[in-house]
Symmetry: C2
Subunit: 410 residues, 2 copies
DNA sequence: CGGGTTTCTTGCATCTACCAATCAACCCAC
DNA sequence: GTGGGTTGATTGGTAGATGCAAGAAACCCG
């Protein structure tokens, strides 16, 4: 029931037809491997002959490979020949340029990480980005003999021009405005290397639906809430990243939960971000412990969200209390998301997700007081299910999705 | 770049291919009629021969008709044969069951209204809905000789089960909970009459993208804000109505703009709806005028939003002031929509839209103080461009879209 | 009236999925 | 160890859609 956009539609020909079915089959292999041709035919509803021909093309292109045969059924019969995604067909590099450190990873065609590198950020963006480019370069060198190279996905913070890779507004990075990340990276990597840019919270959402575990299988509409220096959100609607009119969607962190609250960089007052970001949490924790006279100035500057989470998990009462306050604030901010978008799931990411069992109850209670149960029961809320940083996986998904998602029709 | 849902996908065959192209062509004819075959070929990129065959099928089905020929080009050459949507091919009935009155309309295949009827609501929903059914019945009788009948689209208020047509939660109608509208209507209309249900604010959004004027052509992501008894919103993303996990999306009216504000029926405090609904506006106006001793108790009960708007347009200072306050509150509530969804447009509907030139500035100022200009400049804000009640047009779009939109692939 | 031009139609090639028959591989009972 | 039953995979032929290109139709104008 989608209205066709007369300024931007695509007519269909036999090639589209083939592409659609091929991508469907490729995704089934990815998620159900190992799998036989007959099973694919059953799950797709396509004829066995059609599958046979599609697989033939895939084998020819090296997208999949055949492994040994499986067990036969009790009644006997020919054993199925198992198909797998060929992990060496293509690789992707994901880069997460965070506020404090930058992660780089090399992934195979399955999205399995082969290498992971962590480098601390430096003050000078120009220089730092050249270092990042060099690291990417060396990952490409590692990858070259083994794989085709799909490209680099880069996770950035702030409001972006994703085509050119420019950070238009990036308070939380501390690098100022209009940092031309794309230009700098491309100056060293050259034009041949495809680079895709996207906001970190959105990539986290992308990572979650592409690589998240069971919880998410089948979820089409999710909101990822990334709690870190700020509070960013990524919205997936109908399995597709929602970007908004000029790539500006997903700043639910600027929902005001208290119009009389402290001012926010956005011009509003009392934004969720002002209360629930890691910076705010750390500040509250310091204040809380200092009044009890148990903390020194020097300890304060060393304090960070990671330590608070760790302390809370070790039973530190003030740390736990602080996190619970944050969770409560988050609940306030999530209410409008639930009423407005009613997603199937809200996924919480960031350091606080590591203390999820400690704070989940508080967050849900806070929500329960503000959202009618009829709405609440339809939205699952849980911490990210990924073992690696979600936005890093999203950066990889951004590259691999080129092969695994359907070309936009209509 | 959409992830395929392995639990709910559709493989493609030659029939889908045909359907996609046919719908594209039909939409082009609808929006650009009269138009020649060659023009269609140019705008679609499909071959002339293909278009010729598609049109042949359309003529055979009676979907379009050929009118006289157009002018030939200066260089001479055969005159083009103009094509039009055949308005008598199919008709649709739209029903808007509002809080106070109910509208019924009969539309031709172009979405042009042929009849419009207005009946006041009564207290007893059971009995009233039977009356509505009778009115629908008589409209169908009017339509039968002339058209094929596409179905009935019904606009309702509150949280719905759209399959069965049940109002799960409908405070603003004053009918209580679990009103089985669908069951009652079907009991009188029979199983043969297709009835589609949807929430009024969402239908308004739908009406706006299907029938809105120039402003909206090309907009794919819009939010419609319907200010009436409550404040409802409808979200269109990528040209498609977004419904949320259990048809619960679009209640941005329950964004809290003041956590210390008066309680709302939803359990939260200070929801936008509490400040900006017509009920709230009327109450504020009464309060304002009564303190000046210019209003009597009896006049109060007769006061409604329509009159305030009229008075404001006639220069009544308190009426204008009251509306501006409402606009200011709306601005507060719109901020998170802009940050979160960053739609291309926010369309304001309801009585207050009739005073748009008087309040637009106030609303935009209120927003400007809360939203960074970078975001604000990408979201157009204007009053509904429809001449008929938007949700009524949406109800008709809901029926006609069966013919004019692509079957959901993927 | 005939050449140039534009619009529309039609026959043939191509491509992909469907259908059905066939081949291939396997189990197991006899 | 052999043949029947069973399941998996392939292949040849058909149908239906678009692309391509030639040609028919309609028109202007000198």
């Amino acid at each position: 029931m989608r209205k066709i956009d007369l300024n931007k539609f695509k007519t269909a020909d036999h090639r589209i037809l083939r592409d659609i079915n091929e991508v469907i089959v490729l995704n089934i292999i990815r998620e159900r491997q190992p799998i036989s041709r007959v099973s694919i035919a059953e799950t797709t509803g396509l004829e066995e002959g059609t599958i046979s021909r599609i697989i033939h093309r895939f084998l020819h292109q090296g997208l999949v490979y055949e492994s040994g045969v499986g067990a036969s059924t009790p009644a006997g019969g020919r054993k199925p020949r198992f198909l797998h995604i060929n992990p060496t067909k293509r690789c992707a590099i994901g880069v997460d340029i965070g506020a404090l450190e930058t992660l780089l990873a090399l992934s195979d065609f399955n999205g399995h990480l082969q290498q992971l590198k962590r480098i601390p950020n430096t003050k000078n963006p120009q220089q730092f980005l050249l270092t990042v480019a060099d690291e990417i370069q060396s990952l490409i060198r590692v990858a070259k003999p083994y794989h085709e190279f799909g490209g680099v996905g880069v996770s950035l913070i702030g409001l972006l021009d994703i085509e050119e890779g420019v950070i238009l507004e990036g308070e939380n990075l501390g690098w100022g405005e209009n940092i031309e990340v794309g230009k700098i990276l491309r100056s060293r990597l050259g034009r041949d290397v495809l680079i895709y840019f996207e906001n970190g919270a959105r990539l986290s959402a992308l990572g979650e639906i592409w690589f998240g575990t069971t919880h998410l299988s089948g979820f089409r509409d999710i909101v990822f809430v990334d709690v870190s220096e700020g509070v960013g959100t990524g919205v997936i609607i109908n399995g597709q990243l929602y970007r908004g009119s000029r790539n500006g969607a997903g700043e639910f962190g600027h929902i005001s939960i208290d119009p009389q609250g402290p001012p926010c960089s956005c011009g509003n007052r009392g934004c969720l971000e002002v209360f629930a970001s890691d910076l705010a949490t750390v500040e509250r924790f310091i204040k809380k412990t200092r009044t009890r006279g148990r903390s020194s100035k020097s300890a304060d500057s060393l304090m960070d969200m990671g330590r608070i989470v760790e302390m809370a998990r070790n039973g530190h009462p003030q740390a736990l209390e602080t996190l619970k306050e944050t969770a409560s604030y988050l609940g306030f901010g999530l209410a409008p998301i639930i009423y407005g978008l009613n997603p199937e799931a809200i996924v919480i990411g960031g350091k606080i997700a590591e203390a999820w069992p400690l704070v989940a109850g508080t967050l849900k209670n806070s929500l329960a007081g503000r959202v009618s149960p009829l709405y609440l029961e339809n939205t699952k809320i849980f911490a990210s299910t990924l073992h690696v940083k979600p936005c890093l996986m999203g950066a990889i998904a951004l590259v691999l999705a080129q092969d695994f998602s359907v070309p936009d029709i209509l």
